[in-house]
Amino acid sequence: MKDAVFTKDKLCLSLWLVLSLVLLCLAACGPKVPNLVKYASLPDERICRIAVLPFVSETDYPLADTIAYRVFMGELVQTGRFDLAQEGDVREVLRHMRIWPSQQPHIEQIKILGDRLRVGLIITGTVVEMAEVPMADGVNPVIALSLRIVDPLSGETLWHTYHRREGEYYRKVMHFGVLNTVTSLVHQVSQEVLDLWFKKGLKGCTD
């Protein structure tokens, strides 16, 4: 009888533990994929050449725009699916139109950019959040990106993606998996956004 009660208590304790773990996991989990809103369809044809405009930063993190921009561009090059307009060319056309680094071009200017750079799509980005939150054993980097795919012919936004992640999100067990630097987190976030875009129908030159 005593054994039976002991077993029952043990079972209850185990159930509580499992339930607590599940709740903990649910609380810790954000959305599994970036948030994608499709305002219009992408062009039917494969896009070979694209341009990424310098990102705009809404954070206090020093040079957050340049860091996110360079890493995102690198990730896009790594996909090997596009011919990317050189950053120097993009900045040159922006300079010609007197668009300063903190500004996003308006529709007409997007059209000019598309024409001057001869690109099939334009990507614009805003760093909504970039931070390194101090923790006991280091920092927890945080990044939130807002990215738009813009049609250079009409100047209209076709897709909009918002994606936010913290380094801790990737923790698997103990300290493994955690992303400890802003650079690696932006790299990961860019990869996830691009993966989603390709999955949802963005076609590169080699697709």
């Binding site: 219009a40 039917d44 044809e45 070979c48 020093p62 040079l63 340049t66 860091i67 360079r70 890493v71 561009m73 690198g74 990730e75 090059v77 790594q78 011919d83 990317l84 050189q86 950053e87 120097g88 060319d89 900045r91 040159e92 001869r118 390194e132 101090p134 054993d137 280091g138 920092v139 049609d151 012919l153 009409s154 209209e156 300290h175 955690v178 992303l179 400890n180 630097t181 802003v182 650079t183 690696s184 987190l185 932006v186 790299h187 030159c205």
Partner: protein, 485 residues
Amino acid sequence: MPFRRGFILLLLALLWSPSAMAEKIAVFPIEDLSQGPNGVDFALTEYLEKDLEARGLEVVSQEAVISFMARNRIRWLGFLNTYNISQVRKELGADLILLGTVSQRSEKPATAFGIVLYLIRTDDARTVWSQARGLSCNDMRHVLGIAEPRSAEDLWPIAVQDILENWPEDMGLDRDQNAVSEIAQVDLGKRYVSPGKKVTCNLRLRSTEEGNRPEVTLRVRGRGHLRMRHKGGDLYQASWTASATEGSYPVSLILHWPSGKHKVAFLGIHHVDSNPPALALGIRGLRLQDAVAFRDRILIIPRLLEREPVSRWDFSVQDDQGRTILQEDREGNLPKCFVWQGRAGDGSRVGDGNYQVVVKVWDQAQNMAVVSERLAVMRNPPDMVLEAETRGQGLVLDIRNEGKVPIAFWHMEIWDDDGNLIKTADGETLPAEVDVELPESAVECVLTAKDILGNQFRREIKDLKLLVSREDVEGIVTEEWSMEF
């Protein structure tokens, strides 16, 4: 004889030496964002140069790179434009350019280092490879704490080596390295054409050596290979008929040299479009029968039902006889809306009546869409009718609107001889009846009204009794007299 054999061996050794086969790379100073927008890390640049040299690449000296930057007034790090890239190829003879950015380097609150590298192929100014790495001391923990990095200085060689392990094997240089021609200018004509239209591609090649002219061919989807005609000098031309089927048709250039080398370059895409744009007009106003009525101005909003670039548009207004009284056409996209203020092309106001507004739109392939709408200019005041009849001891005023345009509101005031307001009435609908006690003396009535287009009506009646026929008035008087009698 031994001398001759030695010479041949030396020549062979030179031909097979790594430097003779090496790709030439220019490593530009690495940008260091941790030092601010113009930060530079020469130590890391030098480290990269040495590593790439060890991998068998011919590295342009840092002095030559800095001198190039000064000569070409390049005052920034981390990026170049296409012109700069072509100049690097021309002036430094580099096949590749390595650009890099240190995205972070910190010791506190955590030791971290981040870097992004870009590799650019100079012959087509294309970024062919890129890698990014971010490392923290927390990423490098060892179970026994052996050889753990403790500072950013310890971290960066690890991050850089990690990146360079993925150095690309093939950057497409073999394909192009012996090419003696480059595309100086290319014109694919219109990007959008209608089916069956002639498409012409003009090409100008640069640096073509006499006697070593390449065979120039175009590859067009659905058309196969088209040999480009040599038009003299470095100019080449090819024409073909656009496909009868709608779609996008990529065009690539193939250069074949007598030596067997070839180069392929993607020139662009032309789109075959046979459908005119789907166009609709949105007009906000009062629809009366088959026309939209307005008084002063009307907004005409053209809407493309399917997103499509527009090459030009034409807006015109025609009168009842079909004569064009106003016309405007422009190149480029449609405006968000047209505002017609009821005036002809010479600025004069048009008379009341029906008009036809016609909007024509051409897409990039010159397919035209036409859409029209009838408009009615109505500037006449509301056609108000005011009648009075006797009823009992008083008068009943009957107010009607016999015009086509509904009334927005009406207002009536009745004043006696002494200037006292004895009655007011108003409303938003007609017909309406207003009861008034029969006055003994003359009373003045003022009726105002406004229709929904804004046209106003005002009528003053000096003596309300004048509206009633004499018999009626006399009858009332008789009746009143009888009662009193």
